[in-house]
Amino acid sequence: MSKQHWGFVLGGLLVALLLAGVVSNFASSQPDGLDSSLRDGCVFDAEENVIGGSCPAQAAREHELGDSPLADYGIRGIGNDFLSTGLSGVAGVLLTFAVGGGLFRLVRPRDGGRPDGEVAGTARATAAGLKG
């Protein structure tokens, strides 16, 4: 694989790391579309406890791994919110890249895969051009 291609992948990773590591701290902390739909009908206090009404969100139960060290996009033990969110984002990007990249590498055909569609496409186009 070319140096240029790895350059693109590394550049993309850098952007993802900046987004998850820094920009994530400026994200909205309001519930998302799904969560807010499920909270419709309930009244919440500042600690997110239901203090009145009824809504589908009340049926929510604990997450199986809710005490994971990275649960809720933070790092347990780090008091500084900015650092905790940012580092958990960095960890998530690297982990997702490793799991995703690893999976796709693992399942690709043994011979390293067919040449790219790009190459095949170019070859086809050239052949067609020569014929015409």
Binding site: V15, G92, V93, F97, A98, V107, R108, R114
Partner: protein, 239 residues
């Protein structure tokens, strides 16, 4: 304690329905894996890993949607379908959801099949269908690509949201009675707005990649964008 939940949490949909969707999602992902395999090579594998990592990052960026107290975030199906195609794309979104459920406590593990069905499978499938259709009619320019990405995003987010509504109809743990209509309406309304945000992010990202490395945009099938329509004098006949 304040928890961050972006996906379906445990307890929202009952066990049997969640299990049925887990079986469905597993089957669908196995199918994607078989189809994806043929196209994978040493070059595409790291690119696909990057797409998954990028979706993870952007999902953390909840944006306000101009409805009081509600935010939205990227789901990623349209972006993945544009950049790496439907089969690898669905797997990319699924990888993100699995990492989020297993490591970040986001989206119940028992609910993973439901979340994967809505966002990885439905979201990517709808997006890809629209992309394939639209790219036949729009010009192969940055603008055409952006419009395609935008429309595919809005509808893929809306369909993913309706996937949840259907699942809630089948196995929602709270009997909403007549309130089900209201849930459907709120989900649809908020997700049209979220879809617009998703559309802007997807269009910007895809057009950027298309300008730098058009060969890495699956939807372009290896051909670069053409410059915006400049009237080309017809000289064919003269020659």
């Amino acid at each position: 304690m304040e928890t961050v939940a972006m996906h379906i949490s445990n307890g929202i949909i009952n066990g049997p329905v969640a299990a049925a969707f887990a079986v469905f999602a597993l089957g669908a992902l196995a199918g994607c894996l078989l189809r994806a395999r043929q196209g994978l090579n040493d070059r595409l594998a790291p690119m696909a890993g990057l797409v998954a990592a990028f979706i993870f990052a952007v999902q953390m960026l909840n944006f306000p949607i101009f409805t009081a107290g509600v935010s939205g975030h990227l789901l990623g199906g349209a972006l993945a379908a544009m950049l790496v195609g439907p089969w690898v794309g669905a797997l990319c979104v699924a990888v993100v959801l699995v990492v989020q459920a297993l490591v970040f406590g986001d989206g119940g593990i028992a609910m993973l099949g439901l979340n994967i069905t809505n966002m990885a499978i439905l979201g990517t499938a709808v997006a890809y269908g629209l992309i394939a259709l639209l790219l036949r009619v729009v010009p192969r320019t940055a603008g055409g690509l952006a419009v395609t990405a935008f429309v595919a995003s809005v509808l893929s987010v809306l369909v993913a949201a309706m996937g949840f509504v259907a699942q809630y109809r089948l196995g929602g743990t709270t009997d909403l009675g007549a309130g089900f209509g209201a849930l459907t309406a709120t989900m649809a309304g908020s997700h049209v707005l979220i879809g617009i945000g998703e559309g802007l992010i997807t269009a910007t990202t895809v057009v950027t990649v298309a300008k730098v490395r058009p060969d890495l945009v699956h939807a372009l099938r290896g051909r670069p964008l053409t410059a915006p329509a400049v009237p080309v004098p017809v000289t064919e006949g003269a020659r």
